[in-house]
């Protein structure tokens, strides 16, 4: 009965206090539940996206003693296998083609025999470039090596047997050549460094005609595989999906009893995705959890704004005989009301935010997970309500006397320098952990190869967490001491607003140092959360853009088919397409470095840096401008990979002889270059070794100015739209790719997840937290001092004079909080980007600062403060006797 009466009274007379505290709880619950949606959405997306790109799920290799037909039957009968087809692999001594009177010969290669229906069963294994989609197909690079086109005849060498010939029907790309030509069963270190350069694909019937004899004569050169596609109904969680798929692969091997080994491509993709899934969880902890904690602190501040009045109420009740347990009971009722309201509101907020941010309103990947997340968020909300309302009341009831409970002011404190050491110690600890984490290259997610287990190095979380704690503690202690004892400085600071009242204002502000220091720290932590989250997300987007740009080369890229002889003059045609600002021709040749065939890119040094936005991080030993400039000054210069430098023990200036294909004779001949420096990355270049040279020198040395690709700068126009226009101009055969599409498919599955949803969620909450930490806390604190302002007005204070008190407080909290928050936010940003290096691809050379968002956050915070102060000043115009009567 007492509890019900109390609750009714709270709802009637203290509804503002309840609603404000419930709002804080709602923000914490909403953020946690929304983050659950992010984790669920991202995990489900990761499994789907990572497995979507896999062409062949399993490649089961028949062992020498095994029967390929029996192997095929066993794989087809295995649980979970949807489709299984046999594929033959045969080694060829080389391929030869005579085109326009010139004969080209390659080194050893591989000939695949593909059965009917292979393209339909494994559509991602081959990509048509020119000619027919079936028949004898040459791989792109092989066609380039032979200078062969559909219709040409290619001789196929067979060890110990007469060569044979096939007529080329088409040229294809093998997008997943690395996995297609893997050494099944070998460890990562024993895999070939690169797929074979020379590949021919034949229909299975023809392949058997040509290579069954070789299989009898040289069984070491011919082997069979079974390519399988599995039932893709996998768990949404990549880790669970990986466990299922890899377990099934091991199970099949056991079933085959040594007659076959499984190359688990699907498992490999899921292994990467499970790392990414864990990184998603890591991001949740690093980026999301601080927001929820901040919301909890905010709720504590909101609840604390009414603490004085609550203590007085408690004192009155105790003076009238209420026991401690009765007081705690009443406080618990208030906490339960706040918690219940906050939870319902928070979950509703989460549903709305999740729908806006992720397009989904599930808190988990499964109904059970949804229930779990909602329950966890609700429990967290109850914990916040209990900690901020019931616990302080319990503490006060147990410890403070009735008279002490009615006291509200604190004496200015002496500087607690020894206690300030704790904040510094935490910062030092943060630095130490950060340094220790850096010693293992910031590897947060540990996924030992071949093992089903995967773990996160949670130790790394300690760095940013300690930094946050240390900054908060140090800021609180310094602000508390500065406001409490810096009377002279406060007086000077309030002089412009308060005039002759500056001393009084400084005295009043100084005695509220604990309240103001707490508000200042809340502003600082909110701002640092907003800054670090925004900078991290902006840097992530920046690197995703860099990755896509590295892969695609430019906003739009027009890639020439192999063997095409299109010169740089064709750029003029592309330049007339609406939306095109600049076209940069890029030569793409192949060059032998010793026995190794590498991609060679010929660039125009005068224009390539700006046109392709080359980053300094792409090179070593100099900036992009310096090294490309060196190519201009030394036309026979070449930039090579670090691996090539090591293999050939090169020093700058060394001569490097490459074999390039002559444009006239089509034969490879030696061309001398000088080693200038290292290129680690280059637009459109593969991740393996490659070479960058001066296009003019390459043209002169090979007699051919043929361009491999045209890199198109759209100058801000949507790349997809310009790409469409170019396709319309050049025809459907043109290979045109744009940045937006590339960004979608490239990189790790986490990149593909595109943290936009998490970004929207966190940045939105950060804005809300910033506004609440500034304006709401200030407004509540000022509202609790209505009596003070009413008395001052009754004594004759003008609104302008009351405003001096209000604005001085607001200015101190805001200026101090913004300054501390800006410094903390920047340092936290640097640390987060470093610790979470594994998320970026490639790692950033510099942070991206989203000035527009930060400006918005600052504007929201300042507007919130201004609104709170203005409303307070306006409220002071209420006849003071009215307020005094209300508060008597």
């Amino acid at each position: 009965m007492l509890g019900l009466t109390w609750l009714r009274g709270l709802l009637r007379r203290r509804s503002g206090r309840l609603v404000a505290a419930a709002a804080g709880v709602a923000v914490a619950v909403g953020l946690l539940a929304s983050l659950g949606t992010f984790l669920a959405a991202s995990k489900a997306t990761m499994t789907r996206r990572s497995t979507g790109e896999v062409a062949v799920d399993w490649q089961v290799q028949a062992q020498p003693d095994g029967d390929p037909a029996a192997l095929l039957a066993a794989v087809r009968a295995f649980r979970g296998v949807r489709t299984a087809l046999p594929v033959g692999f045969a080694g060829t001594t080389g391929l030869e083609a005579t085109v326009a009177g010139s004969t080209q010969t390659t080194g050893p290669g591989v000939v695949l025999g593909l059965p009917d229906g292979y393209r339909a069963a494994f559509p991602r294994a081959l990509r048509d470039l020119v000619g027919a989609p079936t028949g004898a197909l040459l791989a792109q690079q092989t066609a380039a090596n032979l200078h062969a086109r559909p219709g040409d005849t290619v001789g196929v060498g067979r060890a110990g047997l007469p060569p044979t010939a096939v007529r080329v029907d088409g040229v294809v790309d093998l997008p997943q050549a690395d996995s297609l030509f893997q050494k099944v069963g070998a460890s990562q270190g024993a895999q070939p460094q690169a797929p074979p350069d020379n590949v021919l694909l034949l229909p299975a019937r023809r392949w058997h005609q040509l290579f069954d004899p070789l299989a009898r004569a040289r069984p070491d050169l011919v082997h069979a595989q079974v390519h399988a596609r599995l039932d893709r109904r996998l768990p949404g969680d990549p880790a669970a999906a990986y466990t299922r798929v890899s377990g099934a692969a091991r199970n099949l091997e056991a079933h085959l009893a040594g007659t076959g080994l499984v190359g688990d491509n699907l498992g490999a993709a899921l292994a990467a995705a499970r790392s990414d899934a864990l990184y998603a969880q890591v991001l949740f902890v690093f980026l999301g959890l601080p927001g929820a904690i901040l919301a909890g602190l905010l709720t504590a501040a909101v609840a604390g704004a009414g603490a004085q009045r609550r203590r007085r109420e408690q004192a009155l009740l105790r003076a009238r005989g209420a026991t401690t347990s009765q007081l705690v009971h009443l406080a618990s009722i208030e906490a339960a009301a706040v918690g219940a309201l906050g939870i319902v509101t928070g979950l509703g907020l989460a549903l709305l935010a999740s729908r806006v941010a992720f397009g989904s309103a599930n808190f988990g990947a499964t109904p059970l997970a949804t229930l779990g997340w909602a329950a966890a968020a609700a429990l967290a909300g109850l914990a916040v309500a209990g900690a901020t309302v019931a616990l302080p009341a319990r503490r006060d009831a147990a410890r403070i006397t009735v008279t002490a409970a009615r006291r509200s002011m604190d004496r200015p404190a002496r500087p607690r320098w020894p206690a300030a050491g704790l904040g510094l110690a935490l910062l030092a600890a943060a630095g130490t952990v950060f340094w220790l984490t850096g010693r293992n290259g910031y590897q947060l997610v540990l996924a030992p190869e071949g093992l089903p287990t995967i773990s996160v190095s949670y130790w790394a979380f300690a760095g940013p967490a300690l930094l946050w704690l240390g900054v908060g503690l140090l800021a609180w202690q310094l602000a508390d001491a500065a406001i409490g004892t810096g009377r002279r400085a406060l007086r000077r600071a309030s002089q412009p607003l308060a005039g002759a009242l500056a001393g009084t204002v400084a005295a009043a502000v100084g005695r509220q140092h604990r309240l103001l220091a707490r508000a200042l720290v809340l502003v600082a932590l909110s701002l640092s959360f907003a800054i670090s989250t925004a900078v991290f997300n902006a840097t992530y987007q920046q690197q995703a853009d860099v990755d896509a740009r590295l892969t695609n080369g430019a906003d739009v890229t027009v890639t020439q088919p192999p063997g095409a002889d299109v010169g740089p003059a064709a750029a003029a045609t592309l330049a007339t397409v609406p939306g095109v600002r600049h076209v940069e021709p890029l030569q793409h040749r192949f060059a032998y470095v010793g026995a190794d065939l590498q991609d060679l890119y010929g660039v125009r040094p005068a224009t390539v840096v700006g046109a392709t936005r080359l980053q300094d991080a792409y090179f070593a030993g100099g900036t992009a401008r310096e090294l490309i400039g060196a190519l201009a000054r030394q036309p026979d210069g070449v930039l090579v990979s670090a691996e090539t430098v090591h293999d050939f023990q090169l020093t700058p200036g060394d001569t490097l002889t490459l074999r390039l294909q002559d444009g006239r004779t089509k034969r490879y001949r030696p061309v001398r270059f000088r080693y200038l420096g290292v290129a680690k990355e280059f637009p459109t270049a593969p991740r393996d070794s490659f070479l960058v040279a001066n296009a003019g020198y390459v043209t002169q040395a090979t007699g051919s100015d043929a361009v491999g690709a045209f890199l198109v700068d759209t100058g801000g126009t949507a790349p997809a739209a310009v790409a469409d226009r170019i396709r319309a101009r050049l025809g459907p055969q043109a290979a045109v790719s744009d940045l937006a599409t590339t960004r979608h498919v490239v990189g790790s599955s986490l990149t593909a997840v595109d943290l936009a949803g998490l970004t929207r969620l966190e940045l939105g909450f950060a804005l809300v937290l910033a506004a609440a930490a500034t304006g709401l806390v200030l407004a509540l604190g000022l509202a609790e001092r209505r009596r003070t302002f009413a008395i001052a007005a009754a004594l004759g204070a003008r609104p302008r004079q009351l405003a001096a008190f209000v604005w001085t407080e607001a200015a101190i909290v805001t200026a101090g909080g913004l300054a501390a928050g800006a410094v903390a936010g920047w340092v936290l940003s640097l640390m987060l980007v470093k610790v979470l290096t594994g998320v970026f691809d490639p790692p950033p050379a510099a942070l991206a600062v989203p000035w527009a968002y930060l400006g918005t956050t600052l504007a929201v915070a300042l507007a919130s403060v201004a609104a709170a102060a203005t409303l307070t000043v306006r409220a002071s115009r209420t006849p003071p006797v009215t307020i005094l009567r209300e508060l008597a």
């Binding site: 002759a500 009084t504 005695r511 003070t788 009754a794 004594l795 004759g796 204070a797 004079q801 005094l884």
Partner: protein
């Protein structure tokens, strides 16, 4: 010789709220307060004493009638200035210490800080409260807090002191001390004093007594310049 009129009420009334739920706190009050007068307004709780005092202090506006301050200037110039107020409940500003509280009205009036602080210290000295100068309001007893409020009035050198139930939350002994301090303060300043009280013993300390009942003001036998 007739002393100048500090406050004049002509048919002053104050009604709170509208419609059937409205409350007429004060109605048809006609009276004058002159310089040097010492008036105690008595009456039971809810009789309108505080409302009348608030109206005279310019803290509230009448809903009917005319209220003027012929010798004190308009409403806007009453506080801080010629009118000093002592409230019933705690009226010291919590964030300021005793000295700062006493100096506040002077600073609000635009006096220099040094002069205000000096005036505050003298006022506290005069009332024997110098030792309390650095204390915070919460560290004072009820009587001490009210005496500090009186010192605050003294420091401002008003011409009219209005005290609303200044002993309402104090025991008889302490309350009497506070009233004596008020009377002495008013005498020292040559100011008029009007206090409201429901305690006849307190009212007896002042020469003139007005009575309020149900919002109507009735004068006492001695020095009866007003009628309602």
């Amino acid at each position: 010789m007739a002393s100048e009129v500090l406050v004049r009420c002509e048919g002053v009334a104050r009604t709170f709220g509208t419609g059937p739920g409205s409350v007429v706190a004060v109605h048809d009050v006609i009276c004058e307060l002159r310089a040097g007068q010492r008036v105690a307004v008595t009456g039971p709780s809810g009789s309108g004493k505080s409302t009348l005092l608030h109206l005279m202090a310019g803290l509230d506006t009448p809903t009917a009638g005319t209220l003027t301050w012929p010798a004190l200037g308009g409403r806007e110039r009453l506080r801080p200035g010629p009118v000093g107020i002592v409230f019933q409940g705690p009226s010291l500003l919590a964030p300021l210490d005793v000295a700062e509280n006493v100096a506040l009205p002077l600073l609000l009036a635009g006096e220099g800080e040094a002069q205000a602080v000096d005036a505050a210290r003298r006022a506290l000295d005069r009332l024997g409260l110098a030792d309390l100068a650095a204390r915070l309001p919460e560290e004072l007893s009820g009587g001490q807090a009210q005496r500090v409020a009186v010192a605050r009035v003294l420091a401002g050198r008003p011409r009219l002191v209005l005290a609303d139930e200044p002993t309402g939350q104090l025991d008889h002994t302490v309350g009497t001390e506070v009233v004596r301090a008020l009377v002495e303060t008013a005498a020292a300043l040559g100011a008029a004093l009007m206090l409201t009280t429901h305690d006849p013993a307190v009212a007896a300390l002042l020469p003139t007594r007005w009575a309020m009942a149900d919002g109507a003001l009735a004068t006492g036998d001695r020095e009866v310049p007003c009628s309602a």
